[in-house]
Amino acid sequence: MPKKELETANRPDNTAFTQQRLPAWQPMLSAGIVIPGFVLIGLAFIGIGVALFITSRNITVLEMDYTGVETSSDCFKCSAGTIPNCLCNLYFTLNDTFPGQVYFYYGLTNYFQSHRKFGVSVDAYQLSGDTYYFTNPLNVCAPYQFVNGSIPIVPCGLSANSMFNDTFKLYQLVNVSKPVPLDGRGIAWWSDYNVKYRNPTTTPLKNAFNGTIKPPCWPKPAYELDLTDPSNNGLVNQDFLVWMRRAALPNFRKLYRRITGPDYASGLPPGNYTIEIAYNYPTMIFNGRKKVVLSNVSWMGGKNDFLGVAYLVVGSLCVVMSIVMLIVYATFKFPEDG
């Protein structure tokens, strides 16, 4: 027998793999699959589209521009940026109840937070509370790395420096201005607040910042962002975190506060309201707009009609297409003829 083995020493193995005979599923774009497939997808999409559209329609949004471009606006006086600590008011009236949990957003337009340099100019080590980087910020933070070339900036970088610093207070006008309680806790992502950003463990916090300086645009240093709540101060300030989560698109809104309080738990009742704005942030110079947005949310998030409409359109197109394909198929009947 060894002789026989020798004779076939070079014979290739007979396996499904080497002989390219692996069992396989060979789908084909046949009429039986494609046309019903299109109908099914079409119908499903129309269904999803209707649900999304109705949901989106039921979300209430109140959006008010307070940039102060028009002279009639109360904020016009502040828009020039000449008055320090300028305060202005924004009045609005609700005819119906603003239902559900109401969120308070500020919005900016024409603001390129998506610019690459905003993304680059961040010192992740510093923001994660590494004190070495407090005194030695990364070069990427330039030109907001040092002041006068030697005093390190904390938090350094373009992104931090440009933090939005208008503040808002909401009053319901019932005879007297009744402040509507705004809750600023938990407006940032849990992971940002608990993992990504950390304060140094130094107590008091202020000492960690010794030898550093606040970013040039900031009115006060980081350790004074919220003196009332140590867990919302320094580098884990929620407003700061929200700002640092930079927007993808030039027009964006960011969560400012949640409206809370026993009177407003199920929405804002009808009536007159005013928002007192500490107008600090300059946007007029780059033709940006500042907005205040009140909104409630649904299972699909904030108001966005697009998704519903898109599903409806695509679903309808699928159905139309399936009819076209059916007609073509019936006419040509490939491949019976071929």
């Binding site: 014979r11 692996l22 069992p23 997808i41 610019h115 080590y125 992971s191």
Partner: protein
Amino acid sequence: MSFFTMDFAKKKEREMERKLRANDREYNLSFKYATNAIKTSKYNVFTFLPLNLFEQFQRIANAYFLILLLLQLIPAISSLSWFTTVVPLVLVLFMTAAKDATDDINRHKSDNHVNNRKVNVLINGQLRCEKWMNVRVGDVIQLENNQFVTADLLLLSSSEPLNLVYIETAELDGETNLKVKQALTVTGDMGDNIHKLAAFTGEVRCEPPNNRLDRFTGTLINGGQKYSLDNNRILLRGCTLRNTEWCFGLVLFGGPETKLMKNCGKTTFKRTSVDRLMNVLVLCIFGFLAVMCTILAIGNRIWEQRWGSDFMVFLPREDGVNASFSAFLTFWSYIIILNTVVPISLYVSMEVIRLGNSFYIDWDRNMYHACSDTPAEARTTTLNEELGQIKYVFSDKTGTLTQNIMTFNKCSINGKSYGDVIDCNGQRLEITENTETVDWSFNPLADQRFSFHDHSLVEAVKLESPQVHNFFRLLSLCHTVMAEEKKKDELLYQAQSPDEGALVTAARNFGFVFRSRTPESVTIVEMGEQRSYDLLALLDFSNVRKRMSVIVRSPEGKLCLFCKGADTMIYERLHRSCSKLMDVTTEHLNEYAGEGLRTLALAFKDLDEEYFKGWQQRHHVASTALEDREEKLDLLYEEIEKDLMLLGATAIEDKLQDGVPQTIEQLSQADIKIWVLTGDKQETAENIGYSCNMLREEMDDIFIVSANNPDDVKQELRNALNTMKPGAGEEATFMPVSSLGSKIKEVKDEEVAGEYGLVINGHSLAYALDHSTEMLFLRAACLCKTVICCRVTPLQKAQVVELVKKYKQAVTLAIGDGANDVSMIKAAHIGVGISGQEGMQAVLSSDYSVAQFRYLERLLLVHGRWSYLRMCKFLRYFFYKNFTFTFVHFWFAFFCGFSAQTVYDEWFITLYNLVYTALPVLGMSLFDQDVNDTWSFQYPKLYVPGQLNQYFSKTAFFKCALHSVYSSVVLFFIPYAAMNDTVRSDGKDIADYQSFALLTQTCLVFTVCIQLGLEMSYWTAVNQLFVWGSLTMYFAVTFAMYSNGMYLTAPASFPFIGTARNSLNQPNVWLTILLTSILCVLPVVAYRFLLIQLRPTINDKVMFMVRQAKATPAPRTRRAQVRRSSTRRSGYAFSHAQGYGDLVTSNRFLRRPAIVPTSGFSLLGRTTGFSPMGRSAGYSPTGSAQNNRPQHVEATSLQMFSTELDHSF
């Protein structure tokens, strides 16, 4: 290789003359001649890294990535982290380096193998066994029989008389016959006297090293005398010593300076047409990349002007950067970001795919030849897809289409035909392996390998019918075969042509055993009784005579002339009384010819003693005449060869390889044109043409071009062209030139009604290949269904291939088995060698080797087609995948201030091509098949799209790009609109950059996966695993990268912490992913569906039929070979060279029966027996033409790596 040749080129530039002295190492060392060590390896341990890297960066793609890497190091430009480029680049460099290293190790091994061969060297008066590499110029070495010649030697002395040596030069020039070299008498007299040889101090002055194999000039100065040296005294490295016990030689050139090595390394680096197209496309892509970046740079300029300068409160510009400079920087930043249009993994993947598909060829059992235990082999792993695009096949005949085995099949004796097996009903039976063969036990001298099925012939022999006996007596007497009887009763015939061997063996088995010969006699054993015939004259074969005769005197003293030859020739010389027998025999001849057998007619004549004496006298005078000897002899021959009595006819089968006609049929069904280029005679070639079904009776016309001057050839070709296509213009129509910068015109394919064949012989071909006629020839040939070129030299074979390559935009394949096919194999786009035969020259220079011609069908129609399909699908999909990936950046630019902000996470960019999408597309390119092999054979037309470049062309590429643009628009703008101003369901942020990046990249991954699913038509478990595995991998890696742990280890590298969990738990994110991926794919589905309905391709049709059939079809019905109507007669099918008869009658020949030097240096084909060893190819072995293009072939490392060596040439 290139380095070292260049080194030598430099060093030796000044060597005008070589001087050396025998046995004087010191003197010779002063010239610093190269030693005999060869080095084909490129690196050693220390030079590997720098040299290999240097070479790798010479490749455009790698250099491009290096430049990108450098760009990324400039902070102002760097838009991506360094690792996005470094990781893939390092991976690619590492893989290539590993491959180069293994190749080089192999080269080292084979170098060592060659360098460590042993040879006897004369050192200090003693013969010592030394390694080849230690042999120096000026050494005297001793070679023994069957040894390779160590270096280029001056022959000093040999064991043979007249100081002759016999060498085989097959490895050098591809000729399998032996050549003779002769030493000078002055050196030859030394013999094997070691003392004399050691004392020999001859000085040689000769030409410097060069690559001319056929020329040598030099002088030997010995003892004050000058002797001139020429090529006849030189043994070249690469030859083999044969039939010579020993010889001594003086080393003239060693190692790299030998003529063999000087002929190396000129192999052209073959690239596939897909490669060439890719190069053009990559250039286009670079252009396109530059355009995109320019647009974005301009966008940046405008943005900086209109927005950026106002936005400087928050985004101050760096010092010295104004809007224009920023635009300039942006241009480069975008070059970095958009570099993924030509990803580095493209080239790696292509190599992997080709490698995989090459393995399939090696592994294929259906291309494994059990008899010779030879599997098919892909010797080049870079040409696979080209196998799917072959338009022209150039095939050798002998050994490729045929087995080069001649079998005595049938004969007609005295009007009765033998050889068919008839059953009891008188029906002719098909002869199969199981048919009972004749039992030779009555004949102890019979060759047991010879089989014959018709018992009636044996009976006829036993009945002692005089005609039958004369018939076989003739066969045993009239030939030039030599017999060797090493052991008693074990005869071994050495025939000059396999035909003759077959005839003599047939006679032997039927009881007329040719036993031995002397110049004057032939001894045969007639039915057990030994008889010696006096050989009085041998009237030799010539091309004009087409017959040979012997005049013998039987032991009884009867004078007889036996003649065998072409029927036409014999019939003219028959006695009138044979006319009745002639008619019957003619019928038989026609029948045999109709079956594709090679026929000979046999006749004899009793001679009158008186007359013969007179004739013999005149013959003696004529053969010693100084003038017109040939003519005088011819006249004498004519005179005596008349009034012959017809004996009968023989039919010899030039056995085709299995399945050749079927394969040819299949290939022509696939629109592949087959040209046979053979060294054989026209008749033989035509004959084979018919038996292969290439030429058919029902063809409209078969043109035979055999003119002997240029004008006639031109005229004949023109006539042919006009017959096929009346009114065809003189000038060919050219294709509009489209490829970049090529000035070569391409001839349009012309269509013609009807089937034509063209047969052209070597002489005419030489004229036809002339510059003024080549176009005419090409047009005529391409209009014909079949082209047969006969009596062509190896060089002409290559020229024909080059001609088609030059003017036709078509892929050519050359297939052959012998050294004479090497040139054509190298010239064609793809060379296929027939392995398992005697010589390995063809295989060594081929790209693929198969054991049988019929495997070509599977190689092309299955492996080639699949490889091409897979490669094209791969390329189309790969470009789609990367364009889509890249274009999204382009759209995002409008929303990020043209700041070169990437849309995706950098880790995603790094891993996209390497991890997330690599395996699925590789899986597709390794497993995909539209229909299985059975159906591929059933519908050879499936092969046609490959020939027309339909699966991947500029148009297909453009469509891909458009599709990508669409997909990228959907991929960017749907998430854009869906995420605009929206928030999470708990009111928190989701429209942030990181979530958006995650959303887009997830959409992208899904889209490309679904798109891959659409492309893939063969989902194996592996494919499923790859696709689902990659998706899983994407999510696993994403969640891992965005996890707390990773962030805490390196905060700066993993800024996307938490994005996945915060974003991918939102229903609207998933709804967006669903919408985006579906919207990307649905239009494609609809488009493809409609296309199948409206304009189904051949693939669609066959795939549909496969679905209909569900099961595999019935085994394909081989078209039964049609018996040709017998209107034509085969020619004289003798493949002799002229002049062999002289040898038989000369004394010298008999001393050493194998080879003989005749007058001067005219060499003769030598074949041993008619086992599949010899070649009957008949190109002139003495012609010098084939030496112009020497084929270096040493069965060492030289060829295996020659393709890699030549990048830098």
